[in-house]
Symmetry: C2
Amino acid sequence: MTIYADSFFLDSDLTDTLQNRIKRQVVEGILSGRFLPGERMPSSRALARHLGVSRITVSFAYNDLVADDYLVAQGRSGYFVSLSAPSGIQFEPPGDPVENTMDWSRLLAHRNGATSRIDRPVDWRAYPYPFVYGQTDPKLFDHQNWRLCALQALGRKEFDSLTSDHYERDDPKLVEYVLRHILSRRGISARPEHVLVTLGAQNALWTSAQLLLTQRRAAAVENPCYPGLREILQQTRCRTHVVEVDDHGLPPDAIPEDTDVLFTTASHQCPTNVTMPIWRRHQLLRRAAELGIVIVEDDYEFELSFRRSPSPSLKSLDDMGRVIYIGSFSKSLFPGLRLGYIVAPSAFIQEARALRTAVLRHPPGLIQRTAAYFLSLGHYDAQINRMRKTYQRRRQVMEQAFSDHGLTPVGEEDHGGSSFWMMAPEHVDTERLASRLQLRGVVIEPGRSFFDPKSAPKHFYRLAYSSIPSARIARGVELISEEIGTYGSAIDA
Amino acid sequence: MTIYADSFFLDSDLTDTLQNRIKRQVVEGILSGRFLPGERMPSSRALARHLGVSRITVSFAYNDLVADDYLVAQGRSGYFVSLSAPSGIQFEPPGDPVENTMDWSRLLAHRNGATSRIDRPVDWRAYPYPFVYGQTDPKLFDHQNWRLCALQALGRKEFDSLTSDHYERDDPKLVEYVLRHILSRRGISARPEHVLVTLGAQNALWTSAQLLLTQRRAAAVENPCYPGLREILQQTRCRTHVVEVDDHGLPPDAIPEDTDVLFTTASHQCPTNVTMPIWRRHQLLRRAAELGIVIVEDDYEFELSFRRSPSPSLKSLDDMGRVIYIGSFSKSLFPGLRLGYIVAPSAFIQEARALRTAVLRHPPGLIQRTAAYFLSLGHYDAQINRMRKTYQRRRQVMEQAFSDHGLTPVGEEDHGGSSFWMMAPEHVDTERLASRLQLRGVVIEPGRSFFDPKSAPKHFYRLAYSSIPSARIARGVELISEEIGTYGSAIDA
């Protein structure tokens, strides 16, 4: 039997090559049982004509399929579905599933509830004025070298590091780079046994909270703070104290006495961007020692200080082993990478590694090795350099636009980074403002989810410049200013 | 000032190219402050001579470094360290860290304790007779196509799926393939909202246990069972019932009445390889319905049934939405990939996704997309086909060797798979046996860690054939038989 060319169609996946789309058609036809072993495929000429592609494309697809034993070539007779092709299955589109016979609200022992995430449209890249935080700018990311490093990590001689299970150790090349070149810039001396590679900073925060907190212990967090941290603490069922930050970040005297674990973003407070001065850091460490508190330091975005060198990390001032340090490559490489690390005393790292093993074994080897190459070949530092220069330029354009259009960022920021923390007039609800601005092509991030939900003000918002081109900034800021202007002086429209 | 060629040396990393090793030297010199901005680099001729490499290699390295702004080229004067090169830091080898001022045994709220893992030497690949389970055979893995798929996933037009944070959805191409081509083979009809991609089966089991168990609930596990599962259950602090498996797997009548969640490997019991017959599956589902039990089905290794088609999954017989189904690509692709999935009612998947978001956000996009290409282009099926044929051959060789040397696997196995579950004479401690065999180049897996620690017998062991070449099997089995023979009839040597 011959399979006719017109039983083929090209799917609409334009991101893929024609050759792959043809191969996929054949494979799906065989697997779904539409094409049976021994059947003759249409000639490459006929199929090429039918699909409107070149004959060579079809030939290449067929040859690949022969290599994988879906097809066999029989000289001048053409191509046939292989008799030993992967066996056919019948594909039925799924019917209505059974859902409601089980009472999941009772069966689920733990509910994670609604997560408070920062609002942002899924298709934010399509907006002309995306003041969106923490996503990668394709123009700044060194995609080509990343790809080369991945290729190297995928090499045949790296097979073992790519494919094997390694519970006990992380990629030694990655750990070595973190120790020698990253931690040393933060004033931290550490050894391999003090480092655990995690699935991003989120996973590092989660792991630390799991190990240190129970429902009988108390955590203290900055207010405002990173919303993901609040989710994590909810899961541990610990009590949570909320400490208001001031112009110098977290005030040590305000930390309640019964606190067991303190979470801080000392070098660059999230989201206000305030840097804690060195005198206060010493004060904080003294108070933590008095109260016997463990400090978890989330040192995010330190690579992006372009205004002056980053102040040394809290951990570098810690001579008691009290600080659990968390770093990440999400901001400097890209968030989808999911690669971060914890630096802590080895007793802590040992337990963290055991927990990680139970939860997920280890971060994929390919990702670790690719990052190790990217770092050690200097691409990472070159990229940071590029980002710093670009962000510095954009920041100046932002400041100019603020002054032109009468917007004011909150507080002084002497560090750099990638965003401004903004305050609208008190009667402006920035969640509504954000919705209205989206209609005009502007994406801003309302500030409410950063605050303790019990007393969250509504008139703060964040403007990031890591994803918006310089040339769009002025008009974007103008639109925000205009939209705020449409709110009556004291009436929330 | 000129940097002299002899301040360079090539590190001993022979896995890397000469060009990269030269670049790394320069980058490290600049970052560590050994080479300062404005200093002149040795000429490519001088450096090539010093290192004993070709001049063109040095030139290529220099050109790459110029592109990344570590060096600048100044016509005939040569290369200089760029004035805007990433700034120097002083690298001090880490001194002795502070460790003992904090009482971590008190501060750590949760201890994960010693993990019971299957013993196997780290360098097992170097042993001539590795009867090691669940690791990838480089000869069977389609490395070249995996690499091509990764390259495609790393393409510029895939930038967004590679780099962005996606909390809410997994890679749609991957999910579609799992639904259409994998689950349909297991008799399962499901929709995208019923699937969550996880970091391997371990992460899927962990997530299910977290959502379903507390210290007030009871789990039941098969005995023997996968040791990682016991670790996971310890963390939830639930009560754990142990149910002895028989020749048909888990006997439903033996499940204690107060069980809330049952974990089973019905299609292919781990580690005994027994397949639960269809009549018992129905019996199991009836008993679970009577007692209101949720079943977690770990359907590992179903792709490797070569003796007959795999029996349909438990979930395919479940018309009440009672079964949480777990699949993985660890055995069929490779364990270091860390990619698995949960199939469950959407109410469950929603909570599982919220938990995953808090713990780790999402599995890296690159890994998901690479797997999606590998699957959809048919390489996965082709590879499974190859593995089945090879394993079937190896299994025959194993059986012949057992009969030649008087070893007996436990029970009948009509499924296929990649290992035998073995019983030595009762007075043989297989942990000692394993140590002694390692001295003779043979790696076996002692069985004790699979059993409930309270009553673990010592004379079982597992022999896998997924990583040992056929030609080595007979001699390996002979060595095992010889070594067992050296034990006195009733005296444990």
